[in-house]
Amino acid sequence: MTQPSQNMVEARSVRKWFGSNEVLKSISLEVPRGQVLCLLGPSGSGKSTFLRCINHLETIDGGRISVDGELIGYTQRGDKLHEMKPKEIARQRRGIGMVFQRFNLFPHLTALDNIVEAPQGVSGVPKAQARERAVALLERVGLADRVDAYPAQLSGGQQQRVAIARALAMEPKLMLFDEPTSALDPELVGDVLDVMRDLAASGMTMIVVTHEIGFSREVADRMVFMDGGVVVESGKPADVLDNPQHERTQLFLESVL
């Protein structure tokens, strides 16, 4: 069961309830290593919730999720599942970067310190090395001149690029993006998408929840359309976007395009 699979993420029959509301109704999908998966769907379709289940920010009520061949949040001994200790969950999350819609930068730290905090504090990277890497990452996202700026002094687009650099500083094998451009002014979206495009080209495995149809057509290896907690349709972006098979997909695409 634990032999390295060519899939980075495997989700099987994932179910999730919020109270009496079933938000994920048996979701199954795989993301092969180095590929980009874009999740599309109307709000409330469960796509953000599913993303948050992958790094155990939400616990799942049914099914299994594994990343890099390792079950997330639980250990299987015999035929029983055991909840993981917070320390082990933290270790698993170190390999999974996440970028939030509302950036969630730490406002009391400068851009550089935001990036340095986790590698230095939890991975034990020496200070000088962590700072050097952070500066390189800020350069990579085009913010070499804003090293000492506090988040409140940065524009939304700049904050989101710092947030991406912060996630990359942990050298994750998988990156999750939860509507990374939805809170941005239109003219700031492009810079963030450029950074994500570069990241995809560098071979990073990515799952992106987005409403940027153009971006997903260009970057995604596969696209999944979700509605009402189920996967309605999936396939190559061109197929899903230009030749949708289901009525719900067609209606959604008509309303956003």
């Binding site: 917070p86 969630n104 009391h108 986790a118 409140a152 912060r166």
Partner: protein, 321 residues
């Protein structure tokens, strides 16, 4: 038809300020009342003013001031640490910890501080010895006479700390609750554990909300130390009343004590200001000016007689770098 004032594109706005006659009338009225009050105290023949200056720097008073500051600082430090523990317990997933924290706060806020101080003073009546051992067995490591272990000063500090912790716990909890949940999620997603997240991400941000009410609490604590007079701790108020018991100049010595309390309160607000500035980093686009910088800006504005914000902006830039 409006008159137009010629202006250059680069001109600052230089306008005649709006006059506020009502403000002037109110200010004069209030100053008159204040002057009358001060005059009546100053000329009151029942107050012997010379004894105020005589006892202001009396060695017993100075010793009392020192002890008051010591008790305030020690009690606040213990109370703050305990408050953080109580606040975290109160927000824990463990129902026993939550209930204990709730019960603690309920009890210590619900009984008068004076009663708590007297209780700790009389602890020797309740437990003549304090011993360490294994509960519910007869195994004992050591035992000490209660009055030796807890003299009046220690009892007083314990009473003030435990009582203050109950209030401060709610302040800390309010601070922790004020931090957006996204901050914790971001920290968790980077692989930080709950303890690390609390220490490095949540608490430093919560400090901004915690410090102003804790400044209040510190000032309350400073004045509550005077309640230790009931267990004969020689702090400022006790020292003043002991002197006036001999020379019967009660009012004069109360004025001496009040002057010192006022002075200490004033001094205590200074570190608060700088703490707020320290933990306010990153929340405002520009740091607020220190009082010294404000003075400089005011002088600069007075000279220029303009409404320009330029000097202020320059000073702020200087304070950031």
């Amino acid at each position: 038809m409006t008159d137009r004032v010629d202006f250059d594109d680069s001109d600052d706005v230089v306008a005649v300020p709006l006059r506020h006659p009502g403000r002037w009338i109110a200010a004069v009225a209030i100053l008159l009342v204040l002057a009358a009050l001060i005059h009546s105290l100053w000329t009151n023949t029942n107050i012997i003013h010379s004894s105020i200056t005589e006892f202001l720097f009396d060695p017993r008073i100075i010793k009392g001031v020192g002890l008051t500051i010591f008790i305030t600082v020690v009690s606040m430090v213990i109370a703050t640490i305990l408050a953080i523990v109580l606040a975290v317990m109160r927000m824990s997933a463990n129902p026993v910890l939550r209930a204990v924290s709730f019960g603690y706060i309920w009890f210590f806020r619900g009984t008068p501080l004076l009663v708590q101080i007297v209780f700790w003073g009389y602890l020797g009546l309740l437990y003549s010895q304090i011993a360490a051992g294994i509960p519910f067995t007869s195994i004992q490591f050591f035992a000490i006479d209660t009055n030796t272990l807890i003299p009046a000063l220690v009892g007083g500090v314990i009473a003030l700390s435990l009582n203050e912790a109950a209030y401060a716990a709610e302040i800390v909890r309010a601070g922790l609750l004020s931090i957006d949940h996204g901050q914790r999620e971001a920290a968790y997603s980077l692989g930080m554990g709950p303890g690390y997240t609390l220490r490095r991400i949540v608490l430093p941000q919560a400090m901004k909300v915690i410090i102003p009410p804790m400044g209040n609490e510190t000032i309350s604590m400073l004045k509550n130390t005077s309640l230790l007079a009931v267990v004969a701790v020689a702090e400022l108020y006790t020292a003043a009343t002991q002197i006036s018991a001999q020379n019967l100049r009660q009012v004069e010595l109360l004025i001496v004590a009040s002057a010192w309390y006022l002075f200490m309160t004033t001094v205590l607000s200074i570190p608060q200001y700088y703490l707020e500035r320290r933990f306010g980093r990153g929340t405002a686009r520009e740091l607020p000016l220190t009082p010294f910088q404000q003075l400089k800006a005011a002088i600069a504005r007075g000279r220029g007689r303009s409404n320009s914000r330029r000097e202020v902006a320059q000073l702020q830039k200087g304070s950031l770098s």
